[in-house]
């Protein structure tokens, strides 16, 4: 007798990851409160930044007359790329034809004495500012903001080739011989340690460098700025530097031409201390008392000067301030992420979920994907509505080029802000979910997540700058630098205060900090779910 084992004719049910994702999606979309939370998050992300932008009428009183603007108490010029620039230095120059070159050996770059009118209790500036510059320049004209290419020694950053204000290329640090070669609109920079073996640093193509230009020797030394308190105040004093140029050779110039000295731009600050008060920021800038000079002696030329040649970074970032309004929507998403797990514990559904998918780690991964994707979409919709409208309102309120860039969804910064808003929404929601899985209590998880994501930001506004900077390097709040509306440049050494939405970490580094927190929390949550009874 043979026995036949009974086998069901029904196909074997799948327990693949796809089914798990589908189950979690079904759970989420069938709870009315959670769907409302997503809609509310998208709406708040769109509406609050627009409100903040439309009321932002305390602009830094930008006034422009023929390309020279006054912004936040400083004189700025408009650079060849349309942005505001600081262009003030001492320049010994001669006219240069469309093809030619200039070579010189730079020595003895040093700061010349402490500023005399530094306020009491003010720390002394360093003997030489790290971004003090001495070198060779080919500039379209001596007008502030004119196109240029320059190669220089700096006080603390070695040899650099810089052009048109925003571009900065590092060279080797040991060189002291510099050379610029012009061929039409392109300028190539070389450096050498001995004047015989030359290394190319880079080539600049400057469309605005047309016809006869000015080639020569320049020196500049920027303002020394120190933050007060949480960075809501600052004091800056002008500094001075000088350097000696020897073995000067110039080709392409008129024979027998002589060096003329020009102070390009207005020394910043000008003749007296200027007080700047923008958005609760109180800044004082004290001028440098020594005037620039050019002295020629025995084949060498010594140039002394003050000022800077760099993009202008305003104190206030109005778009970033407006996008702090997305935090309301973010709290809605943190709540959704945490409750997406903790509600299962409260109702006992977690036991059913684990029975259906005994491999527990995958449950949390599936939940993270579902809630992360939905949060990303909510953030993307909210941000994509907020950015163009907020940018338009800010423009109407006087936050305009050249000082403040005009942003839209198609510009690099605008796109980064919108995608960044969505990415922050997704990862923070996943962090909330992971913390929820560890805590198993909604209230505790929501408060703890908000405590690491948002509270460091508000503490950074009131605490002293050292502690504030540390908080925004270590906590996930670092990721909010993704929403910055101003470009930041390494060759500008302003006081960087969280109070004015200047973050210590670059956007993507800050986002990496947030992702690291979320990854560690999720790993901890998966470990806890596997080890603990449900």
């Amino acid at each position: 007798m043979t026995t036949t084992v009974y086998r069901s004719v029904r196909p074997v049910g799948h327990d693949g990851f796809g089914q798990l994702l589908w189950a979690e999606w079904t759970k989420l979309r069938t709870v009315r409160g959670w769907v409302l939370a997503l809609i509310l998050a998208a709406a708040l992300t769109a509406v609050v930044p627009i409100f903040l932008a439309s009321t932002a009428n305390d602009n830094g009183a930008e006034t422009c007359v023929r390309g020279l603007c006054q912004a936040e108490g400083q004189v700025v010029a408009t650079g060849p790329e349309g942005g505001a620039v600081i262009d003030s230095f001492n320049f010994a120059h001669q006219p240069l034809a469309t093809d030619g070159s200039i070579t010189a050996r730079v020595s003895g770059l040093h700061g010349s004495g402490p500023a005399l009118r530094a306020p009491a209790g003010f720390p002394r500036p360093p003997s030489i500012m790290p971004w003090a510059k001495a070198g060779l320049m080919i500039k379209a004209s001596t007008q502030p903001g004119a196109a240029y290419a320059a190669i220089m020694l700096t006080g603390g950053h070695g040899v650099r080739m810089q052009y048109d204000f925003t571009h900065d290329v590092a060279g080797a640090s040991a060189a002291s011989w510099l050379r610029l070669v012009r061929a039409g609109t392109s300028v190539t920079g070389y450096e050498s340690a001995d004047g015989r073996h030359w290394t190319e640093i880079g080539t600049a193509v400057l469309p605005r460098l047309i016809g006869t230009a000015q080639a020569g020797l320049f020196v500049a030394s920027p303002i020394f700025e120190v933050a007060i308190g949480s960075g809501d105040g600052s004091v800056g004093i002008g500094t001075n530097a000088s350097a000696t140029f020897g073995h000067i050779s110039l080709s392409g110039a008129q024979p027998g031409g002589h060096w003329s000295g020009t102070q390009v731009g207005t020394p910043n600050p000008g003749s007296g201390p200027i007080k700047i008060a923008v958005n609760g920021h109180r800044a004082v800038k004290v001028p440098m008392v020594q005037a620039g000079s050019v002295r020629a002696a025995a084949g060498t030329i010594t140039v002394a000067g003050s000022g800077d040649i760099a993009p202008f970074e305003p104190i206030v970032d109005p778009l970033h301030v407006s996008f702090f309004g997305t935090l309301f929507g973010l709290i809605a998403l943190i709540t959704l992420g945490a409750l997406f797990v903790t509600a299962e514990y409260r109702r006992g559904l977690i036991r059913t979920t684990i029975t259906a998918s005994p491999r527990r780690g995958r449950i949390l991964v599936a939940k993270s994907i579902v809630v992360g994707v939905l949060a990303f979409v909510a953030g993307l919709i909210g941000g994509a509505i907020a950015l163009p409208v907020a940018a338009h309102k800010l423009y109407a309120n006087g936050w305009r080029p050249p000082v403040w860039p005009e942003l839209s969804l198609t510009t690099g910064i605008g796109l980064r802000v919108v995608l960044g808003t969505a990415a922050i929404a997704a990862v923070v929601t996943i962090l909330g979910l992971a913390v929820g899985a560890i805590f198993r209590r909604g209230t505790g998880a929501i408060i703890a997540t908000t405590g690491v994501v948002i509270v460091p930001l508000i503490l950074a506004l009131v605490l002293p700058l050292t502690l504030a900077t540390w908080l925004l390097r270590v906590f996930p709040a670092a990721a909010f630098s993704l929403q910055a509306g101003l470009p930041r440049y390494g060759q500008v050494n302003n006081v960087c205060a969280p109070y004015h939405s200047c973050f210590p970490l670059s956007p993507w580094h800050g986002f990496a900090v947030l992702c690291a927190w979320a990854a560690v929390a999720l790993a901890g949550a998966i470990y806890a779910l596997r080890r603990r009874d449900a």
Binding site: L52, L339, G442, I447
Partner: protein, 257 residues
């Protein structure tokens, strides 16, 4: 009423989270205050309001206070305990009042310890950082007029935040929703108003938003320049608290549990 308070006290005492949250109130407040006072150096930031600085931790401690107040009422809705509670104390206003009394007592106790701890940390740490007689600073003393007001006011501030949260949570019933709304009030509104670029709106929020106005009680320097005075500021928070409690009471009376 006395038995209702006793019952609430028993409930609160026997929930394990209460003890942890009260420890968190003290630890967060004193820890953050001590960190802030340890970091500030006088020659750089001599203009700092040392009393306010020593009470920085209240910004963190209030989160644990809010958590306690949310849980004490929404926990009952979450587990269905509220129906038992209302069967035992049918007068709903008495139930809410009893919860308010219990919350007030524990937050008063934890708040006093936190504020005294923070002030002690300030008194010990600040002179070493340059806030001494050489720079015309006297050591922090809770007996000094403005400092006493800031210290007592900070304890009252925590109590008002707890009662505000209790009223709001009674009205909203859902722990997640109540927590989210309270966090927006405690952190996001002060953050946004601090950086916003409209002096008109900033002034409005500093005068009328619960946390901005309530924390004016901590200021001891430049009081004439504050958007709202210390006691009027705390009174604004008191109004918000009264409104939240009234809202909670109305919802508790009108809606089925």
């Amino acid at each position: 009423m006395k038995t209702a308070v006793h019952a609430e006290w028993t409930k609160l005492r026997t929930v394990p989270s209460t003890g942890w949250l009260l420890i968190a109130v003290v630890a967060l407040t004193v820890g953050a205050s001590a960190t802030a006072t340890a970091i500030v150096k006088c020659p750089a930031t001599c203009h700092a309001d040392t009393t306010k600085l020593s009470l920085t931790g209240i910004m963190l401690g209030q989160a644990a206070v809010a958590a306690l107040a949310v849980v004490i009422i929404t926990g009952e809705y979450g587990s269905g305990m509220i129906r038992v509670s209302l069967a035992a104390v049918p007068r709903r206003s008495a139930l809410l009042a009893a919860k308010a009394v219990v919350v007030t007592v524990v937050v008063l106790a934890a708040g006093t310890i936190s504020v005294l701890g923070s002030m002690l940390a300030g008194r010990l740490l600040l002179p070493g950082n340059g806030f001494n007689t050489a720079h015309h600073f006297t050591a922090l003393s809770v007996l000094h007029g403005a400092t006493l007001r800031a210290a007592v006011g900070s304890v009252l501030y925590l109590v008002l935040i707890a009662l505000f949260t209790l009223g709001l949570s009674t009205a909203l019933r859902d722990s997640g929703l109540a927590t989210a709304v309270v966090l927006c009030v405690l952190y996001v509104i002060p953050l946004v108003s601090d950086v916003m670029l409209s002096s008109v709106w900033r002034h409005r929020l500093d005068r009328w938003a619960p946390v901005n106005a309530g924390l004016a009680i901590q200021a001891t320097r430049n009081i004439g320049k504050l958007p709202i005075g210390p006691w009027p500021g705390l009174a604004v928070l008191g109004l918000w608290t009264a409104a939240a409690l009234a809202g909670g009471w109305i919802v508790l009376r009108l809606r089925d549990a």
